[in-house]
Amino acid sequence: MDLIEFFERKNINFLSKREEMIPYVKDASYFPGSLPRAVVLPKDENEISEVLSKCNEENVKVVTRGGGTSLTGSSASIQDSIVISTLRLNKILDFSGGDRYVHAQAGVRIDDLNGFLQSKGFVYPPDPASSLASTVGGTISTNAGGLRGTYYGSTKEWVLGLGVVLADGKIIKTGGKVLKRSIGYDLTSIFIGAEGTLGIIYDAYLKIVPKIERFQRLLAFFNKPEDLGKAVFQLKDRGLNPLGAEFADKISMNIISRISGISIPSGSEMLLILDIPIQEVNEYEKALSIIKEVNPIDVKILNQTESELVYKARKGLYSALLNEREREGEFIIIGDVVVPSSEVPESLKEIQELIKRFGLKTSLFGHIGDGNIHANIFTNLNSKEEMEKAEKFLEELGDVALAHHGSVSAEHGIGYEKKNLLMKEFMYKNSPTNLDLMKSIKRIFDPNNILNPGKVFDL
């Protein structure tokens, strides 16, 4: 019995016409993807189990897809594979403010989850820029970060337990409702950031916190990137914990100014947007005095309206950058590296030099509070020469991060895009065994290599 007959017999919702499957080929990355054999839309973990068991038996590749927002190709479809869409698994199963958890299915979108939680005064903190479309399962699978990563950390800090279907169809449950658990190997962690290569997450227990309602937003303008980096480090080094700390280079700063109407003092090359929670003491005054020590051109304390306008401008920054595209076929490839806060000043300087050397139109912004730098490269996808140049740039961007004790991937995962960089990171640490361990783990969980093969690393 072939797969299609199997799905029919089991009454599993599937699509197999070309026109029905085309929307599942690509994700938000620049990787083209290939047409799958079928797309399955399971209604629960039992159907996922049946599909995986059959695919494992028949040695058919399986790609899991949530919101399809990956920037590195993690959810791009593979030729002749079965794509499993988790979007029908869209229920919030349980919630307890007192116990500080929410139990949600994998296909629940992050904004919908937070819409539900906020009505109850809580928040699930990971807030990737894709939160409108990205899902619980997808963001766990890529260990997504976000604008508030400096305060809350990335997704891995917030996952209490998972329901997972393994490659052979076995259903396992890890962790659960409690905030701590010490029971040997942490099986929950193994699936975080695994990009669907070890199993398919069908639901998750997630940690939640009361929403922080009050904070003060400040803007600080700098002439030198290293001064901006120093300001952020000093803030953190002296005990402040910003709720968010975003930065923007001149291209991005001009856009923010245009959208928010806030003027830029002359000579400004870098902008820092800082959110300081207001607790017992006026911590933002302390923040202000620290920033003033690091030669800012100007510092502005925003009122409520300005604060909202700047937030809107920052959230819309990527959109606005897209409108700066000038040529047909132009795409923005987003570089995503991270360095320790203390290394931000020097890293930013080196990245700017790199941009100059490559001569690629590139704008920098990112979540500088946790050292996460995004280099947005305007690239013509149809030009082999430009693509090679962009890839080389990304490689050297990774080198800068590694030289400063950081990582080649902060929050977007590896997918197809960073397989070489992943190896490079392990080599740089003189720890190639990491990759061997990863491969061994993969072989245990997925001996037939059916789950998202060719992503993260090649076996």
Binding site: E20, P23, A28, G67, G68, R109, G115, L132, L322
Partner: protein
């Protein structure tokens, strides 16, 4: 559309934001073929000649063109606009769509309800020399007949309806044929809404004229169903018709007609008339001690402007907004009623549940199509009814 479809589509970065807010995706049990991003992908493939018209047309026909996608798109594109353009390109049209289009062209009315469209105005005073034309575009009046079509569809199935429409479009059709299936109380309900609207305007000191049986439909459905050339011709006719009647200022009373005449029609024809939404003229502040929720119309939120004049009128009332509000308002599913009625039912039900969950005393709509689809209990009322009553 000012730029080429190819160029427009090439700006898409496939981020999936549009898919996350597209009401038809959920209604189609998450088949991406019926989602906004799927439509962009399919249009791309169709333009590359890798897919046939037959294989993709349902994807575009099912688009509500509610522009929820546009409101969230980082690249500023609308899958609704793409769907509309793709419908224009399609050579084969649905028999029911052809039937409606022919009625519009032949009778100036999708269901040729004739003088039934004027019954609401009996006994009301109009001023033929007023500079303001009250233009109902027959929208509220058509709703009971639309509902009758839905009843027939449920009773006999879509297939029979299509055969029937094939015959009718050849031999001619009159709304009188639907009369036995139209609920009298529905006619009265919609007529009373029209009377409320008339009174709100005239009580605010504005005298209006009304064209009675001569008043034509706006032509909006020609665009929605993919008849671009026919709409172009109809729009020209409409302009000349208004000119021949000496019209200068047009008061529209439903969002579809308002945005069509205010924004969309200008891509096709010079439209030299001032277009007003009736709430602009209403001088009344509502005082209500309870609470309301509002189902904001897609056309008033995401078509060229954010129309929120009603906030002034309702400023003395406690408004509990539903989860999707303002530019994120959720479509009622109405535009799919002709070709994908099941989808309409699911979308309307989802929206109704969302509005109901606010526990407000009243659920206000401001579009006759939304009203029909969301009218699942007595709490749902047209905004004109609410303003009139309080």
């Amino acid at each position: 559309m000012k730029e080429s479809l190819d160029n427009y589509i090439s700006r898409c970065i496939n981020c999936g934001f549009c898919e996350a807010v597209c009401p038809t995706l959920d209604a189609a049990d998450f088949q991406a073929y019926y989602g906004a991003r799927g439509r962009v992908n399919l249009a791309k493939e169709f333009l590359n000649s890798s897919l046939s018209e037959d294989s993709v047309i349902n994807s575009f026909n099912s688009c509500l063109h509610c522009n929820a996608c546009l409101a969230v798109c980082p690249a500023g594109i609308s899958a609704g606009e793409i769907s509309e353009q793709m419908k224009f390109l399609a050579k084969r049209k649905d028999p029911l769509a052809i039937f409606i289009a022919r009625n519009i062209i032949k009778y100036g009315d999708p269901l040729n309800i004739g003088k039934r469209a004027t019954f609401w105005s009996r006994g009301l005073k109009f001023n033929d020399s007023s500079e303001y034309l009250l233009y109902t575009a027959r929208m509220y009046q058509l709703m009971p007949y639309n509902s009758a079509v839905s009843i027939l569809r449920k009773k006999f199935g879509n297939g029979i309806l299509k055969v029937f429409s094939n015959i009718m479009r050849e031999i001619g059709f009159s709304g009188a044929l639907l009369a036995p299936f139209v609920e009298r109380k529905k006619i009265e309900e919609f007529n009373s809404i029209l009377i409320n609207i008339y009174k709100l305007i005239t009580d605010s000191g504005v005298e209006v004229r009304y064209l009675g049986e001569d008043e034509p439909y706006s032509g909006a459905m020609l665009l929605e169903l993919g008849f671009k050339e026919e709409f172009n011709e109809y729009a020209n006719w409409l302009v000349n018709f208004f000119k021949s009647k000496g019209v200068k200022k047009i008061i529209t009373i439903d969002p579809h007609t308002y945005t069509l005449l205010k924004f969309q029609i200008k891509e096709y024809v010079d439209f030299p008339f001032e277009v007003i939404f009736y709430l602009d003229l209403v001088k009344k502040e509502v005082k209500f001690n309870g609470s309301i929720t509002i189902h904001q119309a897609c056309h008033l939120e995401r078509y060229g402007e954010k129309y929120r004049k009603y906030n002034e009128i309702l400023s003395g009332t406690r408004i509990i907004y539903p989860y999707h509000f303002n530019e994120k308002t959720l479509c009622c599913g109405g535009p799919d009623e002709v070709l994908f009625p099941d989808m309409t039912d699911k979308i309307a039900d989802r929206r109704y549940q969302e509005l109901k969950s606010t526990n407000a005393d009243y659920i206000l709509t401001m579009c006759p199509i939304c009203y029909v689809n969301l009218k699942k209990d007595d709490k749902v009322i047209d905004i004109s009814q609410f303003i009139s009553n309080f």
